[in-house]
Amino acid sequence: MNQLVVENVTKRYANHTALDNVSLSVPDQSIYGLLGPNGAGKTTLIRIINQIIDANEGTILINGEKLSPHHVGLIGYLPEERGLYKKLKVGEQLIYFARLRGLSKSDAMVRIKHWIEKFEIKDWWNKKIEDLSKGMAQKIQFISTVLHEPKLIILDEPFSGFDPVNANLIRDEILELRKKGSTIIFSTHRMETVEELCDHIALINKSRKILEGAKKEVKAKYRTNTYIVEHKGIFSLESEHYEHNGHRDLDDGYMETQVRIKSDRNANQLIQDLVGATEIHGFKEKIPSMNEIFIQLVNGGSDE
């Protein structure tokens, strides 16, 4: 079952089209990476899902229902920059946002207590946001995003402004929320986050979706049948089946060569051929990183 389905959504502004016939399916309890360069249309899509703006065409289904104002309680949204009142105290701020999302005051209090104990920030209650550091404010922002236990959590660059300790804390909370049944959408440029956390991804470029799927499948799709061989002694293989794709010297006479299989041979056959040609010290498949796929697709897209 899909938590969120975006069907053929188009958003036009006077001078340009921000989203062009975009469709996405975000599976239940997935961590879904929404990727794309600046200005690709990610923010517009997030705003449409948050009902901040309306699409010109297309539909959005949440939990199988057509998106409508009463769904705001199902969604939690963390914007990239601190979306908090600077002059307002932490406690008042959390209660206010929780109530705007539809919680009662007493419910909000109970849940806020739970979170501030968990994050060990009880003594911040009466502090104003302007007196907190960026990372501290982000923590408050995170609490306010998930306080109403949304089914769908949308995080825009959630780790910017965090030191590694706090970034880990937030990452663990995200995984915990997923375990409890939430679906999480990340909008990010940070490929390490995507590699580490996401199980599904979509890539938006120039208002269009150019890639979507499970991370493993996407990576498999972009495998190039290239292997990295660490060896001693130069070798060359039959050019009918193999292609040398880069070579560099390592320390102590070791070398690294990338070999791409051109024909229908498999990795085992490559190893057999290598055994006769050189002294093998290491062998692994070269799996494209999300970063490489991203750059390849975005640059490729610009050539069209």
């Binding site: 006077a14 009902q51 009142y85």
Partner: protein, 432 residues
């Protein structure tokens, strides 16, 4: 609806919990009377304590026999004018008045020599003094008796009574009505500016801190805008209420301290028992007593709220369109023009001539009516005009709120773009 109430509550608490609100609310009604009182006191003391300045005079006509006027001591100089000039220029005295031999029917050549320029008031005082003496000299010349002269002097003050359709007489002291109009108009003018600026600042703050994106994912932009405007309106009403209570309490305390603690009606009776005591004071008290306080206050509250809502929406729209208060200036200016027009109109002709055609129109057009109508209301406004004005004002703020909300919903999400009137119009026309 529930969420609008939440926003109103939040905006209300945000302002009311601030120290600056408390200070402004409690001190302002005390500060202004205090400043005025101090200024009056200082001026009086100065008048009292000031050493009177000396004006010498050389009277060649032999007519002049003056008393001292106000802060000047008039001292006769015996001798010719040239000697007087020499003596004067070496002294520290204020002036030298030269009255040559004059023709009573066409006096000319009277000159005042001074070291610093005299004020118009001083010149006026001297002129009327001399005029009076010339008048008396003429009277004597025409053989008119001093007794007749004295009996010619009469002091009158016109008591104005407005006759209502039902034939009821209401005495009205136009100075009091003037004061009501002026204070009401100024209060509305200041309130709209101060609170309008606060709305605008609040919107800019929400926009730049991106709070607005979090909030409009829970409520409609229109709800947020309206909640903000109404929240601040409630702060304004509270402040106004506190001021009324404070001023009433303080003034009754002060009056009690000065011994005027008797009820107004009793004082009126006492005054009425002494028919010759038909002074200005009596008129003022009578007018004050007959002012329909509830009526005036209700009208004030209506125009205060209506004007505030009308302009508040425009201020919110401006705030949504810009990224900083500095950028807002260009859009604020046109908004303030009708306010300034009505403010100046109030002082130049509405209060002097509340029933002229232009006064009537200014009090009906919604952009100027809050201030203009306050100027007229004390003098009595025909019901039909009042209704027309109120309907126009309600229509006006519904219209500006609608226009503003269309700009606001787009503006709050736009960052870093250069905004001009063309862009605003485009936002306004954009379909949601």
């Amino acid at each position: 609806m529930n969420k609008i109430f939440l926003i109103i509550q939040r905006e209300f608490l945000n302002r009311v919990q601030k120290k600056s609100f408390l200070i402004a609310t409690i001190l302002l009604p005390l500060i202004f009377p205090t400043i005025i009182a101090i200024m009056v006191y200082v001026a009086k003391e100065q008048d009292k304590g000031a050493k009177s300045e000396v004006i010498h005079f050389v009277d060649e006509s032999g007519l002049f026999n003056p008393d001292d006027i106000k802060r000047y001591e008039l001292r006769r100089f015996n001798g010719n004018i040239e000697d007087a000039k020499t003596a004067f220029s070496s002294s520290d005295d204020f002036g030298l008045l030269h009255i040559p031999k004059i023709n009573l029917s066409n006096p000319s050549g009277i000159t005042l020599y001074t070291k610093v320029n005299p004020s118009p008031n001083d010149i006026n005082d001297l002129e009327s003094k001399i005029e009076l003496q010339i008048r008396e000299a003429k009277m004597i010349k025409f053989n008119i008796d001093q007794k007749i002269l004295d009996s010619l002097k009469t002091n009158i003050s016109i008591r104005s009574v407005s006759l209502s359709e039902s034939g009821q007489e209401k005495s009205s002291d136009s100075k009091v009505l003037f004061g009501i109009g002026m204070i009401g108009g100024i209060l509305i003018y200041i309130f709209i500016f101060v609170y309008g600026a606060q709305i605008m600042q609040g919107v800019i703050e929400e926009k730049t801190s991106k709070v607005v994106e979090v909030i409009v994912s829970s409520v409609r932009p229109f709800q947020l805008m309206l909640g903000k405007i109404l929240g601040l309106a409630s702060v304004g009403l509270l402040q106004f209420l506190i001021w009324i209570i404070l001023i009433t309490t303080v003034s009754s305390f002060v009056l009690g301290y000065l011994g005027f603690d008797m009820p107004q009606q009793e004082m009126m009776n006492q005054v009425a028992a002494q028919p010759e005591y038909n002074s200005d004071f009596m008129d003022v008290m009578q007018t004050v007593n007959e002012i329909p306080v509830f009526y005036i206050v209700s009208i004030f509250l209506f125009y205060f709220l209506g004007g505030y809502l009308l302009y508040g929406a425009l201020f919110a729209a401006v705030g949504s369109a810009v990224d900083s208060p500095a950028e807002a200036q260009q859009f604020i200016f046109p908004i303030t023009i009708p306010m300034l027009i009505s403010y100046f109109a109030l002082f130049t002709f509405i209060l002097d001539n509340p029933h002229s055609t232009i006064s009537i129109w200014l009090s009906i057009i919604p952009f100027t009516s809050p201030i203009a109508m306050m100027g007229r209301v004390g003098f009595g406004v025909p019901t039909i005009q009042l209704i027309a004005s109120m309907v126009c004002l309600i229509g006006g703020f519904i219209f500006t709120t609608w226009v503003a909300s269309r700009i606001y919903r787009i503006g709050i999400l736009m960052h870093g773009s250069k905004v001009n009137y063309k862009v605003l119009f485009k936002w306004f026309m954009m379909k949601s």
